[in-house]
């Protein structure tokens, strides 16, 4: 599978410092699986009742004030937030929950470092834009729901016919999303360099190898 374009309505979530505890609360980390977290995304905000691992969305009391419970955002694939999105805990479950909900991209003015990396392992593209560009997107979204098109090839985001915003992202990281590559497979191609490094390193720091 490969994806070069992400397209759809953007869900504006006007908040700073959305930490990974909010993206997926602790109680759902007890799963030993890697999938099935979509129903618990933003759990504390999305529902009025307290959920349990194993419960599905339709068994819950929905908070209709929450953006992802309102049309047309229930099926949104692009999330817009402000500063420091994904700060806090290293839980990759946060990226899994966004992915399982259906998000393919998150746009913010900055990201937590660990979360940012986790996204690329799970087909979620984090896009960092300037605060000015983020403001523009929020202002447009405040007028009416906005359709955005994100080209992973030209690294550009377009809104309507006249606004286009370029973004920066490491090519290697981007390639992992475009071609759905697995890191272990890629690194294993360099097995020889790791072995060579380890040999000379173990002679340099023998106490670490006892």
């Amino acid at each position: 599978m490969s994806s070069e374009i992400i397209q759809g309505v953007v869900a504006p979530f006007d908040r700073d410092n959305i930490d990974t505890d909010q993206i997926i609360p602790t109680e759902y980390l007890k799963s030993i699986k890697k999938f099935g977290f979509g129903d618990y995304l933003f759990d504390g905000w999305r529902y009025l009742d307290k959920g349990l691992l194993g419960m599905t969305s339709n068994q819950r009391e929905i908070n209709i004030d929450f953006i992802l419970n309102q049309p047309p955002f229930q099926d949104s694939q692009i999330l817009l937030a402000r500063d420091n999105f994904g700060c806090g805990s290293s839980r990759e479950h946060a990226a899994w929950a966004l992915r399982d909900f259906g998000f393919k991209a998150v746009i913010a003015s900055s990201f937590g470092d660990i979360f940012y990396n986790n996204c690329f392992k799970n087909q979620v593209l984090p896009i960092q834009l300037s605060k000015k560009d983020i403001n523009i997107l929020f202002e447009l979204s405040a007028q009416s729901p906005q359709n955005i098109s994100i080209s992973l090839v030209s690294k550009e985001l377009t809104v309507g016919s006249d606004i286009s915003i370029p973004f920066n992202v490491d090519d290697n990281l981007l390639n992992r999303i475009i071609h759905n590559l697995d890191d272990v497979d890629i690194t294993m191609k360099d097995k020889g360099s790791i072995e060579a490094f380890e040999l000379s390193y173990s002679q340099k720091r023998p106490w670490l190898f006892k």
Binding site: D14, R15, D16, N17, D19, D21, Q22, P25, T26, E27, L29, K30, S31, I32, K33, K34, G44, K50, L53, D83, N84, C87, G88, S89, S90, R91, E92, A95, S110, F111, G112, D113, I114, N117, N118, K121, N122, D170, D171, N172, L173, D183, V184, D185, T187, M188, D190, K191, S193, I194, F197, E198, Y201, R205, P206, W207, L208, F209, K210
Partner: protein
């Protein structure tokens, strides 16, 4: 001309790529039950085994109940899903032959407390763990950082982490703190100053005369919370204090120690090293710090007014309103106006022996306030617990009405039976005051062990001096 971070990076660099990414060799990999099951599953799926078994050390900490007593087994965990997770770690460690201090072990503890005291953290190492507070180990002159589960799998399989180099930031803590001000207050103050994104993209090296005189425990508390300032790496140069700690806690032979020491004493930033950001803080003027809101940067002096809408920039008003509403601060001007329901002394930030001594020192002969539903003290590891009991600290706590528990993450996060009920207000020595962190709708105020202990006695925030 190199910073400590640069030196550690260069020393472990296996290879670079055309992009910013590089492959970095990992010396120590800590594992716990929450972020490892999917990684082991990945290994199994690819038919791989751990690259270097001896690099790995595991223990369960997040899910373990803290009222275990003796002869408790993983099977005895009441919560079915917690039990599965702890038993899954047992199963994976057995299958892959990974060293584990399991729930029955005398040494079991929070992985960041247990590792250093058993000598598994040594200066100059690269250390990773599927846990953001891995930055703790930077206190030993290590390059230590939290990683995600896919990276846990990658490190198990390849002994390397694929990552990009961070920028360098230096924080100088100068001076001598006043009575009642601890490493926790100092790091909370830093986070208030630079914000929770202040260190994003950076490795923060802590230095200055305060750090020089600080114990390893205090240094660990500071590096632990580097992540709360946005920096996934926090680190401190190796000095005599580090060497003394390592000599006491590791079982290295004299010969190995001396050999290693020649290298370890080079683990500091060169005098002319260049930092991308630099901050100087005089710790002598600080008061004890307490968080009022739902992010660690929402911190004030313990007796200062809680900020109002007019005190913050326009774009922060909404965040402030939401935080105040969540924390139930409608009627409070200062934190002293709040009455507390629970007290938690523990977590990988503040559950080491020094923390327990400092909490015990202010409560001798006093009783926990009748307004407090429960005040719990949770040592960070089996060894901390044994040491505290040897010193009679458990008696001091119990005589005052605190509950003395078994090691684990406990009320730092709502994953085991120690949790806040909705709207309960907690004085906590942990590191995150996020919404719901200690239990659904619970309200967390972060502070030092001394301040938390005093809050238990008086039911309200109290001047420790």
């Amino acid at each position: 001309m190199k910073t400590l971070y640069d030196k550690l990076w260069d020393d472990h660099l296996v290879q670079t790529y055309e992009s910013k990414e590089a492959l970095v060799y990992i010396d120590r990999h800590y594992l716990h039950e929450v972020t490892s099951p999917q990684a082991f599953e990945g290994l199994r799926h690819k038919n791989l085994s751990p690259w270097r078994l001896n690099a790995n050390v595991a223990t369960p900490d997040h899910n373990v109940p803290t009222t275990r007593g003796d002869s408790f087994k993983a099977e005895s965990i009441e919560d079915e899903i917690s039990k599965i997770q702890v038993m899954e770690l047992d199963k994976n460690c057995n299958e892959f032959k990974i060293l584990q201090f399991d729930i029955e072990s005398k040494e079991q503890g929070i992985v960041h407390v247990m590792g250093p005291e058993l000598g598994y953290t040594l200066p100059g190492m690269t250390i990773v763990c599927g846990d953001s507070h891995t930055s703790t180990h930077g206190a030993f002159g290590c390059l230590a950082m939290g990683i995600g589960t896919s990276e846990v799998e990658h490190v198990l399989a390849t002994q390397c982490l694929k990552t990009s180099k961070l920028q360098n930031m230096q924080v100088l803590f100068q001076g001598k703190p006043q009575e009642g001000v601890t490493s926790k207050d100092i790091v909370l103050h830093l986070i208030k100053l630079i914000g929770t994104a202040g260190g994003t993209g950076h490795a923060i090296e802590f230095a200055g005369s305060y750090i020089d005189s600080a114990s390893m425990e205090s240094r660990m508390t500071i590096c632990n919370m580097a992540i709360e300032a946005g920096a996934k790496v926090g680190l401190i140069a190796v000095d005599q204090t580090t060497l003394n700690y390592v000599r006491e806690h590791s079982d290295m032979t004299q010969e190995d120690f001396e050999h290693a020491q020649n290298f370890w004493t080079t683990l500091h930033s060169d005098e002319d090293a260049i930092f991308n950001k630099k901050i100087i803080i005089d710790v002598g003027t600080l008061k004890p710090q307490v968080t009022w809101g739902t992010s660690p940067e929402m911190t004030v002096d313990f007796d200062e007014n809680i900020p109002n809408e007019s005190d913050v920039p326009l774009d922060q008003v909404e965040n402030l309103k939401l935080a105040k509403m969540y924390m139930g601060l409608e009627k409070a001007t200062t934190l002293k106006d709040l009455s507390f329901d629970r007290v938690f002394i523990g977590s990988c930030t503040n559950s080491r022996i020094e923390d327990l001594r400092s909490a015990a020192s202010v409560i001798k002969g006093q009783k926990v306030s009748s307004n407090i539903i429960e005040a719990i003290v949770v040592p960070g590891s089996g060894l901390v617990k044994a040491q505290a009991e040897k010193e009679g600290l458990d008696k001091i706590f119990e005589d005052a009405g605190f509950l003395w528990r078994d090691p684990g993450c406990s009320m730092c996060l709502g994953m085991n039976p120690d949790q806040l009920k909705p709207y309960e207000r907690c004085a906590s020595t942990s590191n995150r005051n996020f919404e719901g962190r200690q239990g659904n709708l619970g309200r967390t105020h972060l502070m030092s062990p001394m301040m938390a202990a005093l809050t238990a006695i008086n039911g309200i925030i109290t001047d420790p001096s």
